[in-house]
């Protein structure tokens, strides 16, 4: 390899970043292109600099390491660096190259780097659709939606979403009078959201039921939902059955 490997370091603690920098000093073939103190900086750096390798802390403010990964496609080869051993399995599931437990020494770090080299020769397979699947597996409902907009990241708590609308391979989230587009399937989204708060009212719509003002008969066998802000959404027959089941037939 004639060109240097580009690496990004992501950790919210400065001493931890310093340590990685020091250990990497023994490897002139790797160049540190960015030093990020949080997940937002990480998403921006990776999007703009396209590094080969990322050292990623997990517990960080606002965006966790896993959430950062969810937003990066394609993602660089990832090495998790954390004091918590309970995420090892999850790290394995997202095909991280390695999982470094703090505190670690230069020897262990060098081992990691050779694994990374192997990974890069074979071609990176850090693949991610982890969070949605995870949410379902752990029976924990999605609490916020992460949307990447260029190198910027929007974090929308699910309760602030009015509704989601399918648009080809994307989902458009309507929240606070704004639209946010995210590459995602409607079915995955529906499965990840708490069914007591979100209802698939139509093939193309998922509604936050707190936003619903009323349901109106629009034509024979055809209904629409009217939101508190006056917006109207179509309700399919199956969607109407779901609403009826939810409100005990009182709609």
């Amino acid at each position: 390899m004639s060109e240097k490997l580009k690496a990004v370091i992501v950790d919210d603690e400065e001493p931890a970043r310093l340590l990685l920098r020091e250990y990497l000093g023994a490897h002139p073939e790797v160049e540190i292109v960015a030093d990020c103190a949080n997940g937002f900086e990480a998403v921006k750096a990776v999007t703009e600099l396209k590094p080969d390798l990322m050292f990623l802390d997990i517990q960080m403010p606002k965006l966790s390491g896993f959430e950062v990964l969810e937003l990066l496609n394609p993602a660089p080869v990832v090495v998790f660096v954390t004091a918590y051993d309970e995420y090892a399995l999850k790290a394995f599931e997202v095909h991280a190259a390695d999982y470094l437990l703090k505190p670690f020494g230069q020897d262990r770090f060098d081992e990691t780097l050779s694994r990374v080299m192997e990974r890069l020769e074979k071609g990176n397979v850090t693949k991610l659709e982890p969070l949605l699947r995870d949410a379902v597996a752990e029976r924990k409902w999605l609490e916020r939606i992460l949307i990447k907009d260029g190198s910027k990241v929007h974090v929308i708590p699910v309760e602030k979403i009015d509704y989601a609308e399918a648009q080809d391979d994307y989902v458009n989230f309507r929240s606070g009078g704004k639209d946010y587009l995210k590459a995602q399937s409607m079915n995955d989204l529906e499965n990840a959201l708490d069914p007591n708060r979100f209802v698939r009212i139509h093939r193309r719509y998922i509604l936050n039921i707190e936003r619903m003002a009323r349901i109106e008969l629009y034509a024979k066998d055809s209904r629409i939902v009217i939101l508190h802000d006056g917006k109207q959404l179509p309700v399919s027959r199956a969607g109407y059955q779901r609403l009826k089941a939810m409100f005990g037939g009182e709609v």
Binding site: E14, P15, A16, L18, E22, P61, K62, K102, R144
Partner: protein, 365 residues
């Protein structure tokens, strides 16, 4: 539950104690009324057995007029009245019993002689009733004592458990791992800072172990412990963590359970500061309000992140520890308000009798 009726061994003992009483009664009948021994035993035996059970309900009266809390005059009046009534009842029951014995034996001696014995039965009945009531008071006192002992033991176990939990929590391994990682990082770039951090960590661990073994420590001691803890965290978080501590000097000598504030400050760091991109200030205010100590801890938090379960556990633990030392005298409340999390507590100001404020290790600057 009646302490004698509900326990077979006690009931046996009680009835057994009536055998000599029956003998005594018979002897009195022989000596005073000139019954023959056989007649006396026939009259007194069954009546004594019956009276044993007539006296048992006095337990309920003893419960209604407990010794110590009731005024002595009321207690005496009630028990005296009950004693006279029981004696009267007993001596009256003796009349038909003597009649029955006369009828069976065809000897009218029983009924006639018994009439002469009525005052004796009345007097003996009243005295015996008083004796039984006295036994009941003793039993009640004994039961209460046992109950109190049990409660003290329970409380001690609870306090011990709370202490253990606190120790476990405060030795959160992630804190240690992260700190060791920081030390390892600093050894390369700034050996002096690494050494300083080792010293802080050592001081914090030593204080947690020695304070944790005590039942109570002074607020100043607790503050010096949390200052070490936060100084370690400041190395990790750098300018993201700032502190604003105001501790009134008079409050510093007041006593509190050890490691009471430490879990709260650890929460403030891990669930507050660590979740904020820009970090923030943890403030602690401790002061004396009349005869009570009030302590307020605030930290900023990210309103978008959900309150974590472990915060709730930590708070429950703190509440438990306050209770073991102050009972119902302590208050603890929390509030979330526009991105600020606040824990407020107050408890009675107590000072150790041998005040050694001069020896309190002072917080590191």
């Amino acid at each position: 539950m009646h302490p004698i009726l509900s326990n077979r061994a006690r009931l046996g003992l009680y009835v057994g104690a009536w055998l000599p009483l029956a003998g005594l009664l018979a002897a009195l009948l022989v000596l005073q009324i000139r019954f023959s021994w056989g007649q006396a035993l026939l009259v007194a035996g069954p009546l004594a057995l019956l009276y044993a059970f007539i006296c048992l309900p006095s337990w309920y009266l003893c419960r209604v007029f407990p010794a110590g809390t009731t005024s002595q005059a009321r207690l005496l009046a009630a028990q005296l009245f009950a004693a006279l009534f029981s004696g009267l009842l007993w001596s009256a029951i003796g009349i038909p019993w003597a009649g029955v014995l006369s009828h069976i034996s065809g000897n009218s001696d029983y009924a006639e002689s018994y009439r002469a014995a009525i005052p004796l039965f009345f007097a003996m009945g009243s005295v015996i009733y008083v004796a039984v009531a006295f036994v009941h008071y003793l039993l009640i006192a004994w039961q209460e004592r046992a109950e109190a002992d049990r409660r003290v033991l329970e409380l001690a176990v609870m306090a011990r458990e709370a202490e253990l939990k606190a120790l476990k929590m405060q030795l959160a391994p992630h804190f240690l791992f992260n700190s060791l990682n920081s030390i390892s990082a600093l050894t390369g770039s700034s050996p002096k800072a690494a050494r300083e951090m080792c010293l802080l960590l050592g001081s914090f661990l030593r204080k947690s172990l020695s304070f944790g073994a005590k039942g109570q420590i002074t607020l100043a001691e607790e503050i010096s412990l949390v200052s070490d803890f936060l100084a370690v965290e400041r190395v990790r978080f750098g300018p993201r963590l700032t502190l604003d501590f105001k501790v009134e000097e008079e409050a510093g000598s007041c006593l509190l359970p050890p490691l009471l504030l430490q879990p709260l400050l650890e929460n403030a760091v891990t669930h507050g500061i660590a979740q904020m991109l820009e970090g923030g200030t943890i403030s602690l205010d401790a002061r004396l309000n009349g005869s009570r100590v009030s302590i307020t801890i605030t930290n900023p938090y990210d309103p978008d992140s959900r309150p974590s379960k472990s915060t709730g556990l930590g708070l429950q633990n703190v509440r438990g520890r306050l209770e073991t030392l102050f009972g119902t005298e302590a208050r603890l409340e929390t509030e979330r308000d526009q991105g600020v999390f606040r824990v407020r507590m107050n408890f009675p100001a107590r000072r150790s009798t041998n005040s050694r404020a001069g020896e309190v290790p002072m917080a590191r600057s």
